[in-house]
């Protein structure tokens, strides 16, 4: 295992501490239990938005705490859901009197832990809405299963709902908006290499020198299919087609195109994927009205890429463009 770390068990704590030291004008860190929250919390009469999940997906979620996005983020151990006491204490710290929106990725662990926290908060009379993000088209959906994983759309939902909360949306309206974003967002990812959880010390899976994994999750969990490596254009086509036909996205639609690195894939490759995605969408009469290209929801050092498409209307465009000031996403301010 090649990593720039001290003890594996200190990785999350030390990293969050570093984030807090670097961005003290934007965030503060609570250690027992661990959560990262807005330095100016609580913001009175604003719905507070809290997300969280296993660590290893940086900058998600702690890098998205700040004006116009999250009020708090609860980092679990690497690839392990945070615990209810984290969400509970975070909520108590950032609650501005207008209720709490939990944005939760659809993993059984995350769902159950956030649910427990919501139960605890509701018992104290605090309004909580739990919205689940499940946008990964690589996973077959069905009533009888856990359903799809939450991936790239989470980042977009956090930005858009964050802007809406600043604008004064109440909890009910904000939860509806979050569900709308989830309903209009679709993602799929692939990997060239696995990644190594520090505490485990060895890669989560093996891939031969000429193989890739299509439909990978963000925890190094195996994907939909393993196959020989293909060209960037072919990979982009596979991901884009699966995403487009799922919603489906249609001629005349405006979308936000989000090309994301799994961590280890460098920017030079991301833009090769973006180029092809642009051409595919153009040929179908789908217009990229907004974009995000970079590393926003990652799997440690995994090499690979994911694509997210989010259908846009005027409301979503305006909220996307609104100012945001967080360690990892910032504009207009």
């Amino acid at each position: 295992m090649k990593k720039i770390i001290n003890k594996p068990e200190d990785v999350v704590k030390e990293s969050v501490e570093g984030l807090g030291l670097a961005w003290s004008e934007i965030v503060k860190v609570n250690y027992e239990p661990m959560f990262v929250y807005r330095a100016d919390a609580p913001v009175n009469n604003k719905v507070a938005i809290i997300s969280g999940g296993g660590s290893g997906h940086e900058p998600m979620h702690a890098g998205f705490v700040g004006y116009g996005m999250l009020d708090a983020a609860c980092p679990g151990e690497v690839f392990t859901s945070p615990t209810p006491d984290q969400m509970y204490e975070a909520a108590k710290k950032v609650h501005g009197g207008a209720g709490i929106l939990f944005i939760v990725k659809n993993y059984s662990g995350d769902v159950m832990n956030f649910e427990m926290a919501a139960d605890m908060l509701k018992a104290e009379g605090i309004d909580v809405e739990n919205v689940i993000i499940d946008d990964d088209v690589a996973v077959k959906d069905s009533l009888y299963t856990q359903g799809r994983r939450g991936v790239g759309t989470t980042v977009l939902a956090e930005k858009i709902c964050g802007a809406a909360a600043e604008k004064g949306y109440d909890l009910k309206k904000l939860a509806e908006l979050c569900k709308k974003v989830n309903g209009w967002g679709r993602s799929m990812g692939m990997a060239l290499t696995p990644c190594t959880v520090p505490a485990a010390g060895k890669p989560t899976f093996e891939l031969a020198e000429d193989e890739m994994e299509i439909g990978i999750g963000i925890h190094g969990e195996p994907g939909r299919e393993r196959m020989k490596i293909k060209s960037a254009d072919e990979i982009t086509e596979m991901l884009a087609e699966a995403i487009i036909e799922d919603l489906p996205f249609k001629e005349g639609d405006e979308v936000l195109a989000f090309v994301n690195s799994m961590g280890g894939t460098p920017e030079i490759e991301l833009y090769i994927v973006y180029r092809k995605l642009y051409k595919i969408l153009e040929s179908k009469g789908i217009k990229i009205a907004r974009k995000l290209v970079g590393r926003y929801i990652t799997s440690l050092e995994m090499q690979g890429v994911s694509i997210t498409l989010l259908k846009l209307d005027d409301e979503l465009k305006e909220l996307w463009d609104a100012p945001v000031k967080t360690p990892a996403l910032r504009w207009g301010i």
Binding site: P33, G54, G76, E77, V78, F79, T80, S81, P82, T83, P84, D85, Y107, S108, G109, M112, N113, E115, M116, A138, V139, K140, S142, Y144, T145, Q146, R149, V197, A199, A200, T204, F205, G217, H219, G220, E221, P222
Partner: protein, 212 residues
């Protein structure tokens, strides 16, 4: 034979030891169909219990289990944290204030634990989860109890059924938890959560064996 609070402490120590011993193994099982952290998660939780076990030695069984529940809920994370945490919490409910219980009371507590797991995780038997070890184990417990087995016999039957249950998860296709994302590719692998449940039943059996 009655089970007292000291036995519960011993059971917890044995369970923590078994989890630690099998940390790698559980993690390996989870790598195949999950995210490779189950052993790490469980060991973090039981180590946390062990770190304050001395403060529990003079407490009643309900308090001991409720404290374990809190430790598991706040340190394990993942899916198994809320599930085992809720299990311990539900088990504790009928044991508040008690320093000694019999096998009937133990069965009631275990049934409550399973109920907690199902309330929280909404899974049923056959979905390739810990329930596939626990549910048959409790049926075996109940049968042997009714047919008049000794405590050790009862728990031997329980452990054997749990083991069988773990083996039965291999050919199952997961429809709950992280393994469900794999669809058919989850077939052929043993469920890590079922395996940790089996280890916990084993710890119960060994505790009783040492007592007689």
């Amino acid at each position: 034979m009655m089970i007292n609070n000291q036995d519960v402490i011993k059971f917890l120590e044995k369970a923590a030891g078994k989890i630690k011993e099998n940390k790698e193994f559980l993690t390996q099982l989870d790598s195949a169909i999950g995210d490779g952290d189950h052993g790490i998660n469980m060991d973090r939780g039981f180590s946390k219990i062990m770190s304050s076990i001395d403060t529990l030695r003079d407490k009643d069984i309900g308090t001991i289990l409720r404290t374990c529940s809190m430790a598991l809920i706040s340190t394990v994370g993942g899916a198994s944290g809320p599930l085992y945490g809720t299990a311990f919490l539900y088990a504790s409910k009928s044991l508040n204030g008690k320093f000694e219980i019999d096998m009937n009371e133990l069965l009631e507590a275990l049934k409550a634990a399973l109920e907690g797991i199902q309330m929280r995780g909404k899974a049923t038997e056959g979905e390739k989860t810990m329930i596939d070890a626990i549910a048959p184990a409790l049926r075996a417990f109940e049968e042997k109890l009714k047919s008049g087995g000794t405590p050790v016999e009862i728990l031997e039957a329980t452990v054997a059924a749990a083991k069988k249950g773990v083996e039965n998860t291999v050919p199952m296709k997961a429809t709950k938890g992280r393994a469900s994302y794999l669809g058919d590719r989850s077939i052929g692998h043993q469920d890590p959560g079922a395996t940790s449940s089996y280890l916990i039943f084993e710890a119960m059996l060994e505790t009783l064996k040492e007592k007689v």
